[in-house]
C-alpha cells in the first residue's frame, strides 16, 4: 500500500540524512521525498511517499519517531488529505506539435513558462498520478527533460500537523 508520511523535524544540519539513512538502513522504500523549512524556520516539514505492508508502515512510523530530531510523524494517507506534486517538463515543440502541446497543457491545467523556437517548458501541479498521465499523453520522443519535486501533502480541514 502507498502511504504519504509527513514529518515535522528540527531544521538542523544532518536531520534530513538521519531520515533518509533510516530508510536505507532498514530497507524501507522511498518513492519521493520533499523537504523545506516551515513558517517557523527552526522546523522543517518533510514528506515521504513510501509503500509497505501495515506492519512495515507501523515500523516506519515508530522508527521515525525514535529519531531525536523528529518532532511529529503522521501518516497523511490514513485520513482525508490533499497531495500535490510540481513538475517542470521540457519538450521539443516544433511544427504542428507546438499547437498540440499547448492544447494538452491546457487540458491538464498546466502553464507554458518558457518558450523558444524549438522548446517549451511546461509547469504542471497535480497529484503524482496525474503527472504520470500527462507524461503518458505526450509523445515520448518529444520529452527532453523532466523534473519533479516529489509529493507534498496536507490534511483536510481541521487535521493539522503542528508542534
Amino acid at each position: 500500500m502507498r502511504h504519504i508520511i509527513s514529518i515535522l523535524l528540527e531544521n538542523e544540519a544532518g536531520a534530513l540524512s538521519r531520515v533518509a539513512g533510516l530508510f536505507s538502513a532498514r530497507a524501507y522504500n522511498i518513492e519521493t521525498l520533499t523537504v523545506a523549512p516551515t513558517e517557523d524556520v527552526s522546523l522543517s516539514r518533510l514528506t515521504i511517499v513510501t509503500t509497505g505492508t501495515d506492519a512495515v508502515i507501523e515500523q516506519i512510523t515508530k522508527q521515525l519517531n525514535k529519531l531525536i530530531d523528529v518532532i511529529k510523524v503522521v501518516d497523511l494517507s490514513e485520513a482525508a488529505h490533499i497531495e500535490r506534486e510540481l513538475m517542470l517538463i521540457k519538450v521539443r515543440a516544433t511544427g504542428k506539435d507546438r499547437e498540440e502541446l499547448k492544447r494538452l497543457a491546457d487540458i491538464f491545467r498546466g502553464h507554458i513558462i518558457d518558450v523558444t523556437e524549438s522548446t517549451y517548458v511546461i509547469e504542471l501541479t497535480a497529484s503524482g498520478s496525474k503527472l504520470d498521465s500527462f507524461i503518458q499523453a505526450i509523445d515520448a520522443g518529444l520529452i527532453l527533460e523532466t523534473v519533479r519535486t516529489g509529493v507534498c501533502g496536507i490534511g483536510r480541514g481541521e487535521r493539522i500537523l503542528k508542534v
Partner: protein, 570 residues
C-alpha cells in the same frame, strides 16, 4: 562569570556529570582538551592502547554500573577506530558518550589531515550525534548528550568537536535539567493496558515470563524478582538479561534461544501467555519468527521503546513504559485484587516443565585427560562463589559462560549480545574493574577473541587492574568450527588458529602473571592460585581445552525453537 575555553568547558561538563573515568587516546584535534584534562584531577583519564578499547571500556563501566561511560578520541582514525565500540554499545542500548575531536571548522570538507566525517560515519550506529560548530553551544550540547544517552532506551551519543571550538572562549553555563520538544521518552505505562495484562496473566494456564537486557538497563531486577515469585511462573532471561532473576532459583529455566535450555525453549514455544519484558524477540532468541508465530499464544510486551514492540512478533498487549514502574503497577494491581493464578493449572504446567528439565540438556561428557571448557566455567563459578563480575568475548566460550555460570544479580554478566563483537572482553573487564575495585573481575575468552584487543594488557598493567583472564584455548575459532562441522561437512575453512603466541610468556612480557593448565585436575588449583594467591595481580590462565567440544543445545539458524540439537543427537 569567568570566560572558559571550549576545552575547559568539556572537562567542566564531565565534572558536572560526575564522570569519574574517561577512557581515551590523545591526538592533534583533542590536544586542547587533553591540556585542560591535565590541569585538574577530578576526572581521571585511562589511557587505552587502541580507541576501540576506549569505547568498549566505557561501555563495560556503564554495563557494570548505572552510569554513563565516557570515551575521548581524536579526529579521523581516532574516530573510525571507535566505531566498532560505538556500534557494539548501540546494539545493546548502552549509555555511552563519545567525545571526538574534529579538524577546525574552516578545514572541514577540505580533506584535512586526520579529517573524516565522524557524524556521517557514526550516524547509523548512535542514538544521536552532534557536530558542535560554536563554543556557545558546547555546554548545552554535552548536557543533551548525557541526557539522551541515559534516558528512554539508552544508547551511545557522539559529540564531535572541531579543534577551534576547544580553543574559543565563552561563559560557562550548565543547565540543571533539560527539555527537548523533539525528545520526550514515555515513562509511565498505560494503566488500562497494564490492567488488561494482569487480567490475562491471571487467566493463563501455561504462563511464561521472558525478559531481556531492558530489565537490567532499567534497574528492574528487584521488581521482576518480586513479580515472578508473587506469580509463581517459570521465567527465562536472555543472554542480555541474565542476572535479572536469580539463576539459582527453581523458577528459573535457564537461558532461551539458539543455545538455550530445552525447558526454556519449550516453555517459550508452548506457553499460552508470554510476558515479555525489555526483550526484543531477537533471531537468536526465538529462532524462526514464522515458526514461533505458528503456535497460538497471547503475548504481553513491556518495553520503553515502541519500535521494539510488534517488530518481529505480533503482540496482543503492548505496554510502553519504564520497566520497574510497569512491574510495580502490576504488583500493585495483583495485591489490590488479592488475586492469584489458577494453582491447579500452574501445577500441571510445572509438571510438564519438570519433564523437559529431566532431560538435563546441560550435561556434557567429561574426559579424563582433556579439559572440557564447560568444566572450567563450573569450577570458576565455584571458586568465585558466583560473586564475580564476568565479562566475555564472543564465541563458544561466551555461550558456555552464560550457560554454566549462574548469575544471581544484575550487572554481573557483561558481553556483546547484539553486535557480537570479538575483542570486547578485556576492555569490558577494565571498565568494570575501575568501577568495582572491590569485586573479582573475570574475563572469559578464547584464543581468537583475546587477540583482537590483546594490547590492552598494557593498559591493565598501567592501572593495576587485577583482572583474571580465563582463556579457553582450543586452537580453533570454536563457534565457526562448530558451524563448519555441523553445516559445512567438517570443512574447517580458516577456523584453525595456527602460530599462537605463548600466552604465558605474553602475559609475563606485559608484566602480568601467566599460568598454563593442560590437565583437568589442575583446573581448580590454578583458579584458586589466581583468585587467592594473586588476588591483586592480573592473571592470564591459558586453559588448553578439548578441541572438539561444541555448544549444546543448539537451534540451527532459521529453525523453530522446539527444533533443538542435543548432545546425544550427534
Amino acid at each position: 562569570m569567568t570566560m572558559m575555553t571550549g576545552a575547559e568547558i568539556v572537562i567542566r561538563c564531565l565534572q558536572e556529570e560526575k564522570v569519574e573515568y574517561v577512557f581515551g587516546y590523545p591526538g592533534g584535534a583533542v590536544l586542547h582538551i587533553y591540556d585542560a584534562l591535565f590541569k585538574q584531577d577530578q576526572v581521571k583519564h585511562v589511557l587505552v592502547r587502541h580507541e576501540q578499547a576506549a569505547v568498549h571500556a566505557a561501555d563495560g563501566l556503564a554495563r557494570s554500573s548505572n552510569r554513563v561511560g565516557v570515551a575521548l578520541v581524536t579526529s579521523g582514525p581516532g574516530a573510525t577506530n571507535a566505531v566498532t565500540g560505538i556500534a557494539t554499545a548501540y546494539m545493546d542500548s548502552i549509555p555511552v558518550v563519545v567525545i571526538s575531536g574534529q579538524v577546525p571548522n574552516d578545514y572541514i570538507g577540505q580533506d584535512a589531515f586526520q579529517e573524516c566525517d565522524t557524524v556521517g560515519i557514526t550516524r547509523p550506529c548512535v542514538k544521536h550525534n552532534f557536530l558542535v560548530n560554536d563554543v556557545h553551544k558546547l555546554a548545552l550540547t554535552l548536557k543533551k548528550a548525557f541526557y539522551i544517552a541515559n534516558s528512554g532506551r539508552p544508547g551511545p551519543v557522539v559529540v564531535d568537536i572541531p579543534k577551534d571550538v576547544t580553543a574559543a572562549k565563552c561563559k560557562f553555563e550548565y543547565p540543571e535539567a533539560i527539555q527537548m520538544r523533539s525528545y520526550n521518552p514515555v515513562v509511565k505505562g498505560h494503566l488500562g493496558q497494564i490492567r488488561k495484562a494482569v487480567h490475562l496473566l491471571l487467566e493463563a494456564r501455561r504462563p511464561m515470563i521472558y525478559t531481556g537486557g531492558g530489565v537490567i538497563l532499567a534497574n528492574g531486577a528487584e521488581q521482576l524478582t518480586r513479580l515472578t515469585r508473587r506469580l509463581g511462573f517459570p521465567i527465562t532471561n536472555t543472554l542480555m538479561g541474565l542476572g535479572a532473576f536469580p539463576a539459582t532459583d527453581p523458577q528459573f529455566l535457564g537461558m532461551p534461544g539458539m543455545h538455550g535450555t530445552v525447558e526454556a525453549n519449550l516453555a517459550m514455544q508452548h506457553c499460552d501467555v508470554l510476558l515479555a519484558i525489555g526483550a526484543r524477540f531477537d533471531d537468536r532468541v526465538i529462532g524462526n519468527p514464522d515458526n514461533f508465530a505458528s503456535i497460538p499464544r497471547k503475548i504481553i510486551h513491556v518495553d520503553i521503546d515502541p519500535s521494539s514492540i510488534s517488530k518481529r512478533v505480533k503482540v496482543d498487549i503492548p505496554i510502553v513504559g519504564n520497566v520497574p514502574d510497569v512491574i510495580e503497577e502490576m504488583i500493585r494491581l495483583l495485591d489490590a485484587g488479592n488475586a492469584a493464578p489458577d494453582a491447579q493449572a500452574l501445577a500441571a504446567w510445572w509438571k510438564e516443565i519438570a519433564a523437559w528439565r529431566a532431560k538435563q540438556c546441560m550435561k556434557y561428557a567429561r574426559k579424563k585427560n582433556v579439559i572440557m571448557p564447560q568444566y572450567v566455567i563450573e569450577k570458576l563459578y565455584e571458586v568465585t562463589a558466583g560473586k564475580a563480575i564476568v565479562t566475555s568475548d564472543v564465541g563458544q566460550h561466551q555461550m558456555w559462560a552464560a550457560q554454566y555460570y549462574k548469575f544471581d544479580e544484575p550487572r554481573r554478566w557483561i558481553n556483546s549480545g547484539g553486535l557480537g563483537t570479538m575483542g570486547v572482553g578485556l576492555p569490558y573487564a577494565m571498565g568494570a574493574a575501575l568501577q568495582h575495585p572491590e569485586m573479582p573481575i573475570v574475563c572469559v575468552t578464547g584464543e581468537g577473541s583475546i587477540q583482537m584487543c590483546i594490547q590492552e594488557l598494557s593498559t591493565a598493567k598501567q592501572f593495576r587492574l587485577p583482572i583474571k583472564i580465563i582463556n579457553l584455548n582450543n586452537r580453533y575459532l570454536g563457534m565457526v568450527r562448530q558451524w563448519q562441522e555441523m553445516f559445512y561437512g567438517s570443512r574447517y575453512s580458516e577456523s584453525y588458529m595456527d602460530s599462537l603466541p605463548d600466552f604465558v610468556k605474553l602475559a609475563e612480557a606485559y608484566g602480568h602473571v601467566g599460568i598454563r593448565v593442560e590437565r583437568p585436575e589442575d583446573v581448580e588449583p590454578a583458579l584458586r592460585k589466581a583468585f587467592i594467591d594473586h588476588r591483586d595481580d592480573l592473571v592470564f590462565i591459558d586453559f588448553i581445552t578439548d578441541q572438539k567440544a561444541n555448544v549444546f543445545p543448539m537451534v540451527a539458524a532459521g529453525k523453530g525453537l522446539a527444533d533443538m540439537i542435543l548432545t546425544e543427537d550427534l
